[in-house]
Symmetry: C2
Amino acid sequence: MNYLEFTKHYGLSNRDIAREVFLNNRESIRVKKEKTAVNNLEKIFNAVFRITYKKGFQALNMRALSRETGMSLGSLYAYFTDKEKLLEMIQGQGWLIISKTFAEVVEIHEDPRKKLEAVVRAHIFLSEFFRPWFYFTFMEARHINPSEFAAVKSMEEYTQNILTDILIQGTKQNIFTPENPELTASMIKAMQQEWYLKRWKYRKLNVSVDQFADHLIAMVEAFCLVKV
Amino acid sequence: MNYLEFTKHYGLSNRDIAREVFLNNRESIRVKKEKTAVNNLEKIFNAVFRITYKKGFQALNMRALSRETGMSLGSLYAYFTDKEKLLEMIQGQGWLIISKTFAEVVEIHEDPRKKLEAVVRAHIFLSEFFRPWFYFTFMEARHINPSEFAAVKSMEEYTQNILTDILIQGTKQNIFTPENPELTASMIKAMQQEWYLKRWKYRKLNVSVDQFADHLIAMVEAFCLVKV
DNA sequence: GTCTATACACAGATAGAC
DNA sequence: GTCTATCTGTGTATAGAC
């Protein structure tokens, strides 16, 4: 499955994140009309991503957010109680949507080799589609507060354990060679992250997300597959 | 060469960075006594690393730096004209020392396979020794100003090109298989960076820097070496 | 539901005593 | 060479008009 097929199949949408945030935070959001609220939340989230991506977390202040969204300071505070709450909303909701898609993918295949490939591709494709969210999470979430950093680490461990389990399962079936599966899984994660952390490089090299995924899978299989 | 041998052979020292910064910035540093200045610069740099590592760039303010160093606000400003200048000093000097060591290593071996291994190991070992600097550079330097981010990107390209060249050279000599060398080099960089970006993970997994380097090299060779 | 105006805290930076 | 005290700008957050 390539990137285009993937996005179509899972019907991914940034707007869905904004809608779910609205539904899950009705008490703290003072704006009650769904359409208005979801529209503005989407505007706010995109502005947060744009600002942090370009200038980093320090540049994300309320006046900048007001400028970038075209909304006033007063209006912004109708959507969150304080800055930290805003960041937690973005953080938490993205994680839900992403892990949901991810869990679905894991279930499809039985064969460890196919499963490994599908999981690796899914992660790269998700990070491509929700790139601002992934980038924000990796670069900035750790600075919000200790519990957000803990969430980042546990997400890393969750996805890494899925890879480790597939590798162990494949070793038992004599498909994979018995190399340190945890360390291998960790390396796979490093390469996956490369895609969303350094888009500037791949834009320059003119490498597509599908080419990148192919290359990563080729490297992993060269190392893991039992040689025939 | 393992990590211990490496550090001994190249006589790496954090104090050297502080000393070179002092010598290269005599005009802007108001403190003239070398020993005092170098001592305090080292104290300041370590405090910057500690603060940004724990709380990120936003938490790095002059009052926190004052607290962490035990120096007063007034004293701090005897060592740099403004905050941006302080960060540029840290940034620029580390890059000099590191690229010097790196360039030395490249020259030692002729055989592409040995050269690749030596370069990969050197990068990991350097990032282990100067970890706070590497981490700071990757995570925060991009936020100082556009030219510092440009410097980060050009450093990435410089080290990646060294890897690409070795891979191309090895392919010509029929040692390596002719896979996309730029993309492979890029993946190697991603895995190298993993080591200093996620120390928390490897501390937990109880993986040493030498084990990590061994595993990375095994993966790269499995993919690149011509099968016999 | 959105705006303007503003309170209040904290940041970077400097002056001038010691 | 280092300190304390302080200026000035900017940040978060709120009050209250529309």
